[in-house]
C-alpha cells in the first residue's frame, strides 16, 4: 500500500497517538550504512572519526531505505575515549575500550569533564549537525549519547565501578558528577544541531545487573537532571535500553521519555515482549521501538525477515487495539543492526518495505 503521510507527519502523529497511514519503522541501521557511501569501502575507523563521513552514512541510508527516523548512534566509547581510555578501532567493527583510563579511587576524584569541543565528542556533535541539516526536513532526527553510568563503566570497567558503589561510593559519585557535567555540555552542543530528539543509552537499568535502589542512586538521580535539560534545550527526551530485563517502571513511567527503544530475549524468563509491554501500559504515553533481533539482519533470509516483521506487526496491532492505542509502536531492531560487512542490507530494506505494505492499523 502506498504511504499517504510523509515521514514527519507520521512520526509526529505516532508521538501523539493519532491515527497514521501505517506504523513508523526504523531498524537501527547506523554504522552499517557506511557501506552505502561511495565505493562501499569506508572503514569503521574513518566513519567514527570524521563528522562528514559519519553524516554521509545517515544521508545515504535514508536515500536507500526511506526510514521514518535518523538517530545518530556512533558507538559506546566516545566519552570513555575522550576521558583517556584506550579505544581499539578496527576497520570493520564497532570500536571498543581495551584499557580503561580510571584505575584508582583518586582517578575518579580527579577526573575532569572532557572538552566537548575536542576529540570524538566534537566529531559526534558536528556529525550530528551535518545529518540533521540534511535530513531534518524529511524525518525525525535525534542525537545519541551514553548515559553517565555507562560512560563511567566504560572509562573504569564495569566490575570496578559496581564494587566501588559499595567500597568507595563518594568517589564514584564524584566521577558521576563530573561525567554528568560533560553530558550536560554535550546536551547543549546537541541542542545547537536542532535535532528533534536526544536518545540516552541507559543500559544498566536492567534487573540482571542492578536493582532499583542502586540504579536510582548511581544513575537515576543524574539521569533525571539530564532528561530535564534535554527538554529545556529543545529536544524530545528518548531512551535506548537493549538489556534483557529493563527497568520499565523507572525508565518509562517515571522518566517519561517520548520514545523508548528496547530489545526482547525470548529465552530469558521475564524479558518483556512487545505484547506484554503494550498490555502493561508502557506504550500509553510513550512510543515504544523494538524488538526484532538485530542478529536477524545478518543471519535470516529475506523471507524470514518479512515473516518476522509481519508477525511483530500483527502482535503489536492486536495489543494496541485492545489498549485503545493508534500508533504508539515503531517497528525497529532491539539494538543496533550489526555494523559488520556480513549484515544483509536487503534485510533492512525488507523490514521497512514490509511495514510499508502491512503496517496499516485499523481497530
Amino acid at each position: 500500500m502506498a504511504d499517504t503521510m510523509n515521514h514527519l507527519e507520521r512520526g509526529m502523529a505516532s508521538l501523539q497517538n493519532k491515527p497514521v497511514d501505517r506504523l513508523v519503522t526504523y531498524p537501527l541501521a547506523m554504522g552499517v550504512c557506511r557501506r552505502l557511501v561511495g565505493d562501499g569501502k569506508m572503514t569503521y575507523r574513518d566513519w567514527a572519526s570524521d563528522p562528514k563521513k559519519f553524516a554521509s552514512a545517515f544521508i545515504e541510508g535514508q536515500k536507500h531505505f526511506d526510514f521514518d527516523f535518523a538517530i545518530g548512534l556512533m558507538d559506546l566509547s566516545v566519552a570513555a575515549g575522550d576521558m583517556g581510555s584506550t579505544v581499539r578501532m578496527d576497520d570493520q567493527n564497532t570500536p571498543f575500550v581495551t584499557d580503561p583510563a580510571l584505575k584508582t579511587v583518586e582517578d575518579y576524584e580527579t577526573l575532569t569533564p572532557p572538552d566537548v569541543k575536542k576529540g570524538r565528542s566534537k566529531v559526534l556533535v558536528d556529525g550530528t549537525k551535518l545529518f540533521v541539516d540534511a535530513l531534518g526536513s524529511q524525518v525525525i532526527t535525534a542525537a545519541f549519547l551514553e548515559g553517565p553510568l555507562l560512560s563511567l563503566t566504560q572509562a573504569a570497567s564495569a566490575e570496578k565501578v559496581f564494587m566501588d558503589m559499595y567500597n568507595n561510593p563518594s568517589a564514584v559519585h564524584k566521577a558521576l558528577k563530573t561525567i554528568t557535567e560533560y553530558n550536560a555540555n554535550m546536551v547543549r552542543g546537541m541542542g545547537t544541531t536542532k535535532c528533534a530528539g536526544l536518545v540516552w543509552d541507559y543500559l544498566w537499568g536492567s534487573y540482571s545487573c542492578l536493582g532499583d535502589k542502586e540504579y536510582e542512586e548511581f544513575e537515576g538521580k543524574y539521569a533525571r537532571g539530564l532528561n530535564e535539560l534535554t527538554g529545556k534545550e529543545g529536544m524530545a527526551m528518548c531512551i535506548h535500553n537493549c538489556a534483557d530485563l529493563p527497568h520499565l517502571d523507572t525508565q518509562i513511567k517515571a522518566f517519561k521519555p517520548a520514545i523508548y527503544s528496547m530489545a526482547y530475549y525470548p529465552l530469558i524468563p521475564g524479558s518483556p515482549s512487545a505484547k506484554e509491554t503494550i498490555e502493561k501500559g508502557y506504550a500509553d504515553n510513550c512510543l515504544i521501538g523494538g524488538q526484532i533481533d538485530p542478529q536477524g539482519f545478518v543471519r535470516w533470509s529475506q523471507e524470514k525477515m518479512q515473516k518476522t516483521t509481519m508477525n511483530l506487526l500483527q502482535e503489536v496491532k492486536t495489543a494496541m487495539c485492545a489498549r485503545g492505542l493508534h500508533s504508539k509502536y515503531c517497528i525497529a531492531s532491539g539494538c543496533e543492526v550489526p555494523p559488520t560487512v556480513t549484515t544483509r542490507l536487503e534485510n533492512i530494506k525488507e523490514c521497512v518495505d514490509t511495514v510499508k505494505q502491512y503496517g496499516q492499523i485499523k481497530c
Binding site: N93, A158, M163, M165, N167, Y207, C209
Partner: protein
Amino acid sequence: MQGQDILASLEKAVITGNKADSVKFAKEALDKGVKALDAIDHGLVKGMTIVGDKYAKHEYFLPQVLLAANAMYGGLDVLLPHIPKADSDKKLVGVIGVVEGDVHDIGKNIVKTMLTAAGLDMHDLGKDVPVENFVNSVKTAHASLIAMSTLMTPTMDGMKAVVDGLIENGDRMKVKIIIGGAPTSQPFADDIGADMHAINAQEAVKKVKGAI
C-alpha cells in the same frame, strides 16, 4: 569463637561481601584448628552458593555478587595454602575466558566465581582472548576444563576455532569444554564439538560437577 561460629562468620562475610571479615575469620579458623577444607566448604562456599541463588532470584544484583566473590577470594587466599598437598593436588584446574573480539566479561566472572566455589582451581584468561591462549592452556595450566563465554553472535565462531585447535594439537580428549553466553545453546555446543552448554552459573556448576 567455636568452630561452628567461625564457619557461620565466614559464610556471613561472603554473603555481606565483607572481604576484611572473610580474611579475618579465615585466619581465625586456622588458629582454632578448623580444617582449611571445612572452612572453605562449610563457610565460604556455603555463603557464595546462597549469593548465587539470590542473584538468580533477582534478590541480589551484580554489585553484591561481585563483592561476595571478592570476599570469597580473600578467604581462599588465606585458606588454600593450608590444604594438605594430597588434597590440593586433587583439585581440577579450569581455564575460563571470553573469546576473541568480545569484551562482555561480567557473566564470565560470575561463572568463574561459582566454579571456584564448586571446588575448581580456576585460571582466568580474561576477555577478548586469542584462540591460542585457550588451546595452549591444556599444556601450560594443565587444565582439565575449558570454559568459554561470548555474548555476541559474530564472535561465536571463535569457540569452534578453540575446539578445532585442541583437536589439531592432540589435547582435545584431555579436557571437557563448556560454553555459555546468550547466543550459545546446547545444539551449538554439539555442532562445534564442545561437551556442554549451560545457561547460567548455577547450571554450569551442576553440569561441570556431573562431567568431571
